[in-house]
């Protein structure tokens, strides 16, 4: 696939609000699943399909994303001619506000390649698949675009995009956050089209003074272009709010979701950091939890996701919670339905009990 399909990842999305968690990072740089960032999934799906040229378009607070991606070596994308390219907005152009994807920059980058197809992927859907069959189906169908969807619509919160699909898999209606969805078909945030069509569409938008394009922009062209749906059968986790971030993390702890997402045929790549192994002492209790390297577990951890370097001290209980990198839970604490952003310290004896439908969020570097 390496010279057939080029990739584009839209790393930001102004419509998705993760509150305090997104204060310092865009959606692509959002930590997920103990040791990943959301962009790792989109990127690994591309790499596992054999695609070698991938652009990452950004406009929001992208320093943490740049630090994470580096040269792309973790994804084997530090290539001479191909490889990973970060596409920040071109602030030098007066026309561009820095509030949306930079169409001029995208156009500039993508027009010079010779790959016949482009896959555009957002970052807020977590799934593990390779695109061979998706690509094949698109090519054989003769459609202008093909978009990945599944039937999770009713269980997902907003923002969300629904489709009507006819018997030929053709998209006949696109609804963004409809009050009463007419179908269960919802976008998984990935579409394929001819690279030249993409470049033409951008050029056309720019000539009409449109500076703002999102994934939805392309789907809404269903009347002009032949857009088909391709049904994704696996598990997809949709992260579009704090609540869904919390729910989907809880869901990924248990099989079969855990195995499908993390232990698929191909690995999810991410930047590896040096940590000590995680140590469990004599008195710890751990149930149904995913725990990353560098943790020290002396208390009780149940139904929780722990990122790197978390300490849970003795006589503390962590239930149904998500603790980001280097969270320190002191002795005698009780945490339930809590999301703690990185580098925070929970003081001895602290009790934080949220509701599963309204988890408590503790910001970055806070001492509670």
């Amino acid at each position: 696939m390496y010279n057939k399909v080029i990739g584009l990842i839209l790393a930001d999305d102004l419509a998705i609000n993760l509150g305090e968690l997104s204060y310092s990072r865009g959606i692509g740089a959002m930590p997920f699943g103990g040791r990943y960032r959301l962009i790792d999934f989109a990127l690994s799906n591309f790499v596992n399909t054999g695609m070698l040229t991938i652009g990452v378009s950004t406009f929001l607070k992208y320093r943490s994303l740049m630090d994470h991606l580096g040269t792309g070596a973790a994804w084997d994308l530090d290539r001479m001619n191909q490889g990973l390219h970060i596409l920040p907005p071109n602030y030098g152009l007066e026309a561009h506000s820095g509030e949306s994807y930079d169409l001029t920059g995208l156009w500039d980058f993508y027009r010079d390649f010779s790959h016949p197809y482009i896959i555009i992927s957002t970052c807020h859907c977590v799934f593990n698949m390779t695109y061979e069959d998706f690509i094949e189906t698109h090519i054989n169908s003769g459609a202008d675009m093909t978009v990945l969807y599944n039937e999770d619509g009713y269980r997902c919160g907003s923002p969300i995009t629904f489709f009507d699909i006819d018997e030929n898999n053709r998209i006949t209606g696109v609804y963004y956050n409809p009050e009463k969805p007419k179908s269960n078909n919802t976008s998984v945030g990935t579409l394929i089209m001819h690279r030249e069509l993409f470049v033409d569409l951008l050029s056309n938008m720019m000539s009409r003074g449109i500076q703002d394009a999102s994934f939805l922009t392309f789907l809404r062209m269903f009347k002009t272009y032949d857009i088909r749906g391709y049904k994704f059968e696996g598990e997809a986790l949709r992260i579009n709010s704090i609540q869904s971030y919390f729910n989907e993390t809880m869901r990924v702890l248990s099989d079969p979701v855990r195995s499908q997402i993390f232990y698929g045929e191909y690995p999810i790549y991410t930047k590896v950091k040096d940590e000590a192994p995680t140590y469990y002492n004599d008195s710890c209790v751990v149930d149904n939890s995913m725990i990353s390297d560098g943790c020290v577990i002396q208390g009780t951890v149940q139904d929780s996701m722990l990122f790197r370097g978390v300490t849970v001290s003795g006589q503390s209980t962590v239930n149904n919670s998500i603790l980001f990198q280097d969270t320190f839970v002191s002795e005698g604490c009780q945490l339930e339905n809590v999301i703690v952003d990185k580098n925070s310290v929970i003081r001895p004896g602290t009790k934080l009990i949220g509701n599963p439908n309204y988890p408590i969020v503790i910001g970055k570097g806070v001492i509670v």
Binding site: G33, F262, P277, Y279, Y280
Partner: protein, 420 residues
């Protein structure tokens, strides 16, 4: 090449025969250790943390894993444009070819390599010790004392001293006056740690002379150091007092692994000022199920535990299935312990699969075809990498199991799988 103040040379050694099947296919420094590491991570990380950016790794035994593992030295920040990590195998020269005959000869054969960096000092290290040491402090002493050589020494218990190379010093404790290899009646308890700093111009001359000496065994401890002492050169003892362990035997390898559970504060992998770096694959965070019990153990990414782990070190991607119990053991990467199996005091090689209901460990049985008193002691069981152990197999203590197609009765190996 720009001049370097000090170049480090790691003697990654020949076959580490006392580790038996664990070094059948890999050089000793490439043996996995302590959940996330390989033995060579320790000298490499020490170099990197000590500000040494040019490191030669001398190796001639099964170097593929080691080469692949060290690569350009990226994980240890040793992928430098001027300097970095170099794997140095023996090679043909215009005068002929030669394997490395011994420690000093290995350095002798790489004089040109060292000369390229025009170093003032050379640091000689072993590839099979677990410790954290700031070589820069040792170099400072070497320079202050205007020594020709500085040797790191460790106080060992008097009763263990006869097992070591012992340095006898003058009353200051700093000047070495005599070296005794494994003395029956030691005069001191200062054991050589096999870590040397030499002034390069001095060592260079010694190596050339040693090579000419037909009676020499070309060993640093046995030949170079005594020769320098006999010439009244200044040999300084650098006293080290932290955790240090030679992992050259099955027993000491097991001990050192258990130490990371029992002596956490001494080894301390969590010291952000002196990190031990390693090369690790990307695996998901490990998972511990509701039925599992994990006590006094450590593990790393990719592990999945449904059974019981007690006082055990798990490397990446190990699986303990329901009802299985693993105790006092070391699982190297990718080991799977199937349902209901019991593993007690074992070191299990990479990717080996323990069948359902197996019983590994316990009271030794000298009749067992895998019984190996020479290498295994203290009821420790060692399994080679890539074995598939038959369901319900019984392997008592002090056994070392490898693939032996000759065995009919008592053969517990069902198949072997490729490992890399």
């Amino acid at each position: 090449m720009p001049k370097k103040n000090m170049v480090a040379m790691i003697l990654a050694g020949g076959q580490g025969s006392r580790l038996g099947v664990l070094t059948n296919n890999v050089a000793k420094p490439a043996v996995p250790f302590g959940s996330r590491y390989r033995i060579i991570d320790f000298p490499l990380s020490n170099c990197s943390n000590s500000g040494i950016d040019t490191v030669g790794v001398l190796t001639q035994y099964q170097p593929l894993d080691l080469n692949t593992y060290v690569g350009t030295g990226h994980p240890w920040d040793l992928d430098r444009n001027n300097g970095g990590a170099f794997i140095l195998p023996p090679y043909q020269k215009i005068e002929g070819m030669d394997w490395y005959k011994n420690t000093a000869n290995a350095i002798y054969q790489n004089i040109n390599f060292i000369d390229n960096f025009m170093p003032n000092y050379v640091l000689i290290l072993s590839g099979d010790h677990i410790y954290k040491m700031n070589y820069d402090l040792m170099l400072k002493q070497h320079i202050e004392e205007k020594a020709d050589a500085t040797i790191a020494v460790l106080e060992v218990p008097w009763d263990e001293a006869p097992r070591f190379g012992i340095m006898n010093t003058d009353e200051s404790g700093r000047n070495i006056i005599e070296f005794e290899e494994k003395p029956a009646e030691p005069k001191s308890n200062l054991a050589s740690m096999g870590i040397y700093i030499f002034t390069w111009s001095v060592l260079r001359k010694e190596l050339l002379a040693d090579e000419e000496n037909p009676d020499s065994s070309h060993d640093f401890g046995k030949d170079i150091i005594p020769s320098m002492l006999s010439q009244d050169m200044k040999l300084s003892a650098y006293h080290f007092s932290g955790y240090w362990k030679d992992v050259g035997t099955i027993r000491s390898l097991w001990d050192a692994n258990m130490d990371i559970l029992d002596k956490q504060d001494e080894i301390n992998f969590r010291d952000s000022a002196w990190r031990i770096y390693s090369r690790n694959p990307v695996k998901p965070a490990h998972y511990i199920s509701s039925e599992a019990t994990v006590k006094n153990s450590c593990m790393t990414d990719g592990c999945v535990v449904y059974g019981e782990a007690e006082h055990t070190v798990l490397s990446h991607s190990c699986v303990i299935e329901e009802g299985a119990i693993v105790k006092d053991s070391v699982l190297m990467p990718g080991v799977k312990v199937r349902k209901g199996a019991i593993v007690d005091k074992a070191i299990i090689g990479m990717n080996t699969i323990i069948g359902e209901g197996c019983k590994i460990g316990g009271k030794p049985d000298p009749q067992n075809p895998y019984y190996n008193k020479k290498l295994c002691s203290d009821e420790i069981v060692v399994l080679d990498r890539g074995l598939i152990i038959k369901d319900n197999a019984v392997i008592p203590g002090n056994c070392m199991v490898e693939h032996r197609p000759d065995l009919t009765e008592g053969n517990v190996v069902e198949d072997v799988v490729q490992v890399w």
